[in-house]
């Protein structure tokens, strides 16, 4: 039966990764994971469980020590715009304006300036930063910078997004706002999203499915389907179904 289904957007088959020492660190161990097309998958796990390593492998910066990774059925050969990657650290280019940042991927693709402008116009408006389009990152808050990084990666319209705890450094309120913005964005342009976080509530709010990794070395510990209806809002966070799931996950992850 599976032969008639299209291959998963992202697939990790029995993947292990070890950082060479000294001493050698086993980040991932025999991990098998499948991300469906247009699915929003959240990867939950404690600090150091290999979440970033997994993302970097999918992004094409690392090769698994053993096992295979695939993207839409074929092997991953290095980074590319088709798998947009937003890092955990702040990586907005400080020497470029907001607009130049957003247009960068299009510049790399060789898109004409007028076409680039059209795309960046729309994306900048989407995150409400039109007034700041000519500003430099030093004039932006951390939250604003992060959203710029997110739409920057959207500009090239990749089918896959890899987000590594993008809101980790933000305060609670900004984080909630950014989660909303991301949810809106995703609902408008469905993509496959692999979202790494250690925040249970964030994972529940954003994802279709949650996968829990154990402590180092990272192994698949548990899996949850998030059957919470969309679109989600502030009220969702306090709904019975949401809270019940949250309880379940807390218990399962022993936190």
């Amino acid at each position: 039966m599976t032969a008639t289904l299209s291959p998963p957007a992202l697939e990790a088959e029995d993947v292990s990764y070890t950082y060479s020492g000294p001493p050698p660190t086993h980040a991932l161990q025999n991990l098998t994971l499948r991300v469906r097309d247009n699915e929003f998958l959240a990867v939950l796990g404690p600090v150091g469980c290999g979440k970033t390593t997994l993302l970097r492998i999918f992004a094409g910066f690392l090769r698994p020590t053993s096992g295979k990774v695939r993207c839409a059925g074929s092997g991953i050969d290095g980074p590319g715009w088709q798998r947009g990657y937003v890092l955990q650290e702040q990586a907005i280019f400080p020497w470029m304006t907001v607009r130049e940042n957003v247009e960068f991927g299009l510049l790399a693709k060789g898109v004409e300036p007028s076409a680039r402008e059209a795309v960046s116009d729309e994306l900048i408006k989407l995150i409400g930063l039109t007034a700041f389009e000519a500003a430099y990152p030093k004039d932006l808050s951390a939250g604003m910078s992060k959203m710029v990084e997110v739409v920057r990666v959207l500009a090239t319209d990749p089918s896959i997004l890899l987000l590594d705890e993008p809101f980790g450094a933000l305060d609670a309120q900004t984080r909630a706002r950014m989660q909303d913005a991301l949810a809106r964005l995703w609902e408008q342009r469905r993509k496959t999203v692999l979202f790494v976080t250690h925040d249970v509530e964030e994972a529940l709010y954003l994802a279709d499915r949650i996968v829990v990794l154990s402590e180092r070395p990272g192994k698949l510990k548990a899996q949850f389907e998030v059957a919470v209806p969309r679109p989600r809002s502030v009220n969702t966070r306090f709904s019975a179904g949401f809270l019940a799931l949250k309880r379940e996950i807390w218990d399962a992850t022993g936190r």
Binding site: G78, P79, W95, F104, P137, K138, T156
Partner: protein
């Protein structure tokens, strides 16, 4: 702020005043020249006229050997040496060293910072190379190139290149890393990646090292001139004349002090320029 400048000026004035007192107290004008001698030497070397023999100065008891030192200024003037010309020559050498040495050093730093592999191979060689003081090579280079301009310029280029490597290396390896990852995930490669991501990201670190390279360039240029040149400020400092007579420095301290002050001024000016230029290039930085 104003208070600090005031203290600065007061301190400077005190310094000059204290010097004048000391000079008068020691009363050995061949070792600690009085301010008038210094000013006189400056004026003479700038070409505004012969330095008048000190015995013309009213109220000064001149020991016999004072005549000898003013001879040196006269000799310099006879040889056609002026302060401006010497400074210009030294500055030209400094600029040459910077223009050629900086790109060389930055290229090496870029390569080492970018590729772990290249770093593993090149870094040990670099450590060896930078351990040999550039000016010590000057005797060896002379055997190859004789008394040529290249012979003097090579140590300067070498010194600048060596000092430019580490800041660039640090900028590319440590600072630019995460930006390169982000850029590659946006599809950037090759020249675009280098020009629009790596270099701007590494720029603050590289420019931080620039000031140091400038200082090294001045020092090496002056040193090379002291050892092996017939013109330039370094040459002026050790008494002018042909290199072959270098064995005995016949220097008038007034000339030396003038030379040092002028060099300090020029160095300070170039440092200021380097700082201003760096600030302009990294306007986007916090």
């Amino acid at each position: 702020m104003a208070r600090r400048s005031l203290l600065w000026i007061v301190s400077l004035a005190a310094l000059i005043f204290a010097y004048m007192l000391v000079a008068r107290a020691i009363s050995r004008p061949d070792i600690v020249p009085p301010a008038e001698d210094i000013a006189g030497a400056f004026a003479a070397l700038v070409g505004r006229g012969q330095q008048s023999p000190a015995s013309d100065m009213p109220g000064m008891d001149m020991p016999a050997h004072h005549h000898h030192s003013s001879d040196q200024v006269d000799t310099l003037l006879q040889e056609g040496v002026t302060l401006q010309a010497s400074l210009a020559v030294t500055m030209a050498r400094v600029l040459f060293g910077l223009i050629v040495g900086l790109p060389l050093g930055m290229l090496m730093g870029l390569l080492m910072g970018w590729s772990r592999r290249a770093d593993d191979y090149l870094h040990p060689i670099y450590v060896l190379v930078r351990s040999v003081p550039p000016l010590s090579l000057i005797t060896y280079i002379m055997l190859w190139l004789g008394h040529s301009e290249a012979h003097r310029l090579i140590p300067i280029v070498y010194a600048v290149a060596v000092t430019a490597v580490i800041p660039t290396y640090h900028g590319v390896r440590d600072v630019a890393g995460k930006y390169v990852v982000a850029a590659r995930s946006l599809g950037a490669r090759g020249r675009l990646l280098l020009a629009k991501v790596v270099l701007p990201a590494a720029a603050p670190a590289m420019l931080g090292g620039l000031r140091y390279s400038v200082a090294i360039a001045w020092m090496t240029a002056v040193g090379a001139e002291m050892l092996m040149a017939e013109n330039g400020m370094g040459n002026l400092l050790v008494g002018g004349g042909m290199w072959s007579s270098r064995l005995q420095m016949r220097s008038d301290p007034a000339v030396i002090i003038v030379g040092i002050l002028v060099l300090a001024g020029a160095g300070w000016a170039m440092d200021l320029a380097a700082r201003a230029w760096s600030a302009r290039l990294t306007r986007w930085a916090r």
